[in-house]
Subunit: 93 residues, 2 copies
DNA sequence: CGGGATCCGCGTGGATACTG
DNA sequence: CAGTATCCACGCGGATCCCG
C-alpha cells in the first residue's frame, strides 16, 4: 500500500503504464495536479524504483518518465481499483 | 480511491470480507491499530455505506460490523493490492 | 466491552511566485 | 519546459486517559 501512497500516485502510474511520458504531458493528463505535487510524487516513485527519470539533452530540455518492470507489476492492482471507480460513476450517472 | 483512504482501511475491509466481526475481534485481527483509529475508520466506512453497525443488546454489550453489498465490491481491488504486496514480501524474504 | 476526549506530530496537497 | 521555494491547511495516526 505504501507504494500507492499519495492521492495522485495511482493516477500517475496509470498514465505511465501507457508508455514513457514527459512532465508536461503528465500535467496535461492530470489537469488538477499541481506541479509541486507531481514533482514530489515522481521523486518518490523514482526513489522506490517504480519509475526512471531520463533527461533528454535537447533545447528546450525535456524529461521522460518511464515505468520500471516493478512499476508495471502495480498496474493490475490499480486497474482493479479503477474498475470499481468506473462502476460507481456509471451507477450515479 | 477515497473509499480506501486511511492506512488501515483496506485491512479492515479485508477482515470484514470474511463475515461479520466485532470491534474487539478487529482489534485482535489488526494488533497494531489503536482503538481510536479503528473507531474512526469504522465510522467513516459506515458513513460511506461500506459497512453496517449493529448493536447487540447483550451483557456485556457487543457491536457487530458487517460489509454491505457495496463493501463487497471493493474486496477484489483490495485483494489485487494484497497480491502485489505478498509478491514483494516473498521476493525480499 | 466498545468506544469518546484530548493532544500532538507528520505527510500530503493547494496556491502562488520564481528560475535555469 | 521542468521544475524549486515558501506558506498554509487538513486528515490521518499514535498515545494516554476516561466512561457507560
Amino acid at each position: 500500500m505504501s507504494m500507492l501512497r499519495g492521492a495522485w500516485t495511482p493516477n500517475v502510474i496509470w498514465y505511465l503504464s501507457g508508455g514513457p511520458r514527459r512532465f508536461g504531458e503528465l500535467r496535461h493528463d492530470i489537469p488538477r495536479i499541481s506541479a509541486r505535487v507531481l514533482s514530489a510524487r515522481l521523486k518518490e516513485l523514482e526513489r522506490r524504483g517504480i519509475v526512471t527519470r531520463t533527461v533528454m539533452a535537447t533545447s528546450p530540455p525535456s524529461v521522460e518518465y518511464t515505468l520500471t518492470g516493478f512499476g508495471h507489476e502495480l498496474v493490475p492492482a490499480i486497474n482493479s481499483i479503477a474498475r470499481v471507480g468506473m462502476k460507481l460513476k456509471n451507477r450515479l450517472g
